[in-house]
């Protein structure tokens, strides 16, 4: 179990996204949050089809258009230009959130500021007095989608754990996260707490535990 004390590189942003994509079943309806989660679309495993939903009213979202052919009225939730795939459909916001709140989206991949041992998610506000609070569709997504995957760096820029016993930032939802993909590990949120599924290459359990703010179980 002993290993070098210095930090190994762990997974890149792309590798985290690719790893998360492996866990999405064929034929899933998927909503991807802004940031690293957007990269998941580039790593659909061979032989699978995912249908992407963007909450501003499009099912069957395709990749970004080639430069010069952007349409300012065809954008995603991050307000970036996108395209449609054959079989796409447009609808208004109430219908779009019917898909989310009504449990019709299979998987949602989101970024996080903090995730707790019981699956609480904080990803919309630091709660700082001068912050402009902005929630968008995050609270609807975590309330309505069964499988909430989080992709996040394991620790904050300050070095503090982002996976914690209890979130200190304002919550997006309680007990909503199913699985966490970080640069160091893949971790399941279970009724009995966090459980390590996989370590990034060269990463030790010891190091991951040290960088995790809550107890981390293993199957072994």
């Amino acid at each position: 179990m002993t290993q070098k004390a210095h930090t190994a590189a762990g997974w890149s942003r792309e590798q985290m996204a690719a790893r998360a994509a492996q866990d999405i079943p064929d034929g899933s309806y998927v909503n991807l949050g802004i940031g690293i989660p957007e990269l998941v679309a580039q790593f659909v495993p061979e032989g699978r089809v995912f249908i992407y939903h963007t909450e501003n009213g499009l099912l069957g979202m395709g990749p970004p258009p080639p430069p010069g052919s952007e349409d300012p009225e065809l954008i995603n939730a991050g307000k970036k230009p996108v395209t449609t795939v054959p079989g796409a459909s447009f609808f208004h916001h109430a219908d779009s959130f019917t898909m989310i709140r009504g449990g019709h989206i299979d998987v949602c991949v989101l970024g996080a500021m903090q995730v707790s041992a019981s699956g609480d998610l904080a990803n919309w506000s630091t709660g700082a007095p001068d912050a402009i609070p902005a929630v968008g569709g995050a609270m609807d997504l975590v309330a309505g989608v069964d499988s909430i995957f989080v992709i996040t760096k394991h620790v904050a820029k300050t070095g503090e754990p982002k996976i914690v016993e209890s979130c200190t930032y304002p919550l997006t939802g309680r007990g909503v996260v199913s699985r966490i993909y970080t640069d160091l590990a893949v971790i399941d949120v279970t009724p009995r707490g966090l459980r390590l599924l996989e370590l990034a290459p060269g990463m030790s359990l010891e190091e991951v535990r040290r960088k995790t703010g809550a107890p981390l179980q293993t199957t072994s």
Partner: protein, 236 residues
Amino acid sequence: MIDKTIGTPAEAVSCIGDGAVVMIGGFGEAGSPVELVHALIDQGTGNLTAINNNTGNGEVGLAALIGNGQVRKMICSYPRSSHSKLFPDRYRAGEIELELVPQGTLAERIRAGGAGIPAFYTPTAVGTPLAEGKEVRQLDGHPYLLERWLKADFALVRCETADRVGNLTYNKTARNFGPLMCMAAKTTIVQARRVVEPGEIDPEHVVTPGIFVDRIVEVPEPLHESRLVAEGRRYP
């Protein structure tokens, strides 16, 4: 590629078991998924809870399903028909339970089921016998009833055109409850007059997005209930 089509009405409804809650599209005969309902009659599935605006016509389709004793409970707004005695006879005999719901409340409860809204307040039916046993709440000085969502195990819906990923369009007033029921059922089974490839329906014209549809069976020339009734036909 995703392909939700399935060969026959019989195969399409084979997943429906005894005791299921089944939403059945249509207002009168417009939008009635006759072939799917007949397949359910052939299959003999019993103890069903059926949700439809009416109770069927003549002795075909939903009326025949009721007449055949397969429906334990009916949730609808208007169980009278000048063309069918099958529901009234069973109802008077105490052989079928009825939950009577105002038409707009029925539509909204089904939409709520699909939209993840467990309950809502409505002005409809306040002060009437249909408010009995329901919570009344004053909001801004007006009384409203609390109504709960309606969900189903299955929806049987008829549409005009479907693509293989489940996008649907409807025909005129045959649209009615179809788009709502597609959203509110765990498994939605659709009979389409025409099945096309993804992309053939303009994304702007899709009425039911494919996410709400599970199984599609093509029935190019569906039966017209009014013609069957006029001919005095009965099913089976």
